[in-house]
């Protein structure tokens, strides 16, 4: 069984590598499509629409709609494909996900800043795009900084700490027959003696006690 598992390991690594490479390619293609589609919409004013009862200033083309929808869905799907391949290969999908996060917000933030600093003629004020670009780049840094820290640890050869453990984090100390058990002194710590068994009071009178007298009007 161990020999069979050892023989499957290289095959599993190759399959994981192929899945991860396909995921990286699909993710990059989707992000490129989203980047180009976003730039195309921003060049016509940053807004377009189709359908509905209202008058539309700028009609979206078929290509813009298809490209944006397919690209956003592709980002999510290929992100998952890459994470699956990476995990199958026994590597951290968390680090590559941080890089992908940084790539998304870095690329789209660059679009906002570039078009905000040099807006098309039909756009009056592009301050909103500049603010969006700064916010997008701040979000990109939130992923790239921890990704860089992980990359530096990898370059130094420091083993990566698992983000999640397979076993329980807290385990109960189960006393075994061989291990000496602590004396049961819970009752001694209590200032008042605690009965080990709850004794329910009965209605029967104890010896030496008189029965309660009945009133005459009750008879």
């Amino acid at each position: 069984m161990e020999q069979a598992a050892g023989a499957d390991r290289p095959r599993r690594q190759v399959m994981a590598l192929a899945i991860a490479a396909i995921g990286a390619a699909g993710f990059a293609a989707s992000l490129t499509g989203l980047y180009v589609g976003m730039r195309d919409v921003m060049e016509v004013g940053g807004f377009c629409a189709r359908g509905g009862p209202y008058v539309i200033g700028t009609e979206c083309t078929d290509g813009q709609v298809i490209l944006m929808v397919v690209s956003v869905l592709g980002l999510l799907v290929f992100w998952g494909v890459h994470a699956a391949g990476t995990s199958l290969g026994g590597r951290s999908a968390f680090a590559t996900s941080l890089l992908m996060w940084g790539a998304i917000f870095g690329a789209l933030g660059w679009n906002f800043l570039y078009m905000g600093l040099d807006p098309p003629q039909q756009v009056g004020s592009a301050w909103g795009w500049i603010v969006s670009g700064v916010v997008f780049w701040a979000m990109a840094l939130a992923g790239l900084i921890p990704a860089a820290a992980i990359a530096i640890r990898w370059l130094r050869g420091v083993p990566e700490q698992p983000a999640f453990t397979k076993g329980p984090l807290v385990r109960a100390a189960v006393p075994t027959a061989a291990a000496p058990t602590a004396p049961d002194n819970r009752h001694e710590a209590s200032p008042t003696p605690v009965p080990k068994r709850l004794v329910m009071p009965t209605n029967e009178p104890r010896s030496g006690e008189q029965e309660p007298e009945q009133h005459e009007d009750e008879q």
């Binding site: 991860a20 990286a24 499509g33 195309d40």
Partner: protein
């Protein structure tokens, strides 16, 4: 993981991403 395996893994991802960017540019220009 050995260093060589890590480099192979990194190279496959970089090549895949580069191919994806090229495919994305071609596809986007064809669609728009």
């Amino acid at each position: 993981m050995s260093g060589t395996a890590d480099l192979v893994w990194l190279a496959a991802n970089v090549v895949g991403a580069a191919a994806g960017i090229a495919i994305g540019i071609l596809a986007a220009n064809a669609i728009l």
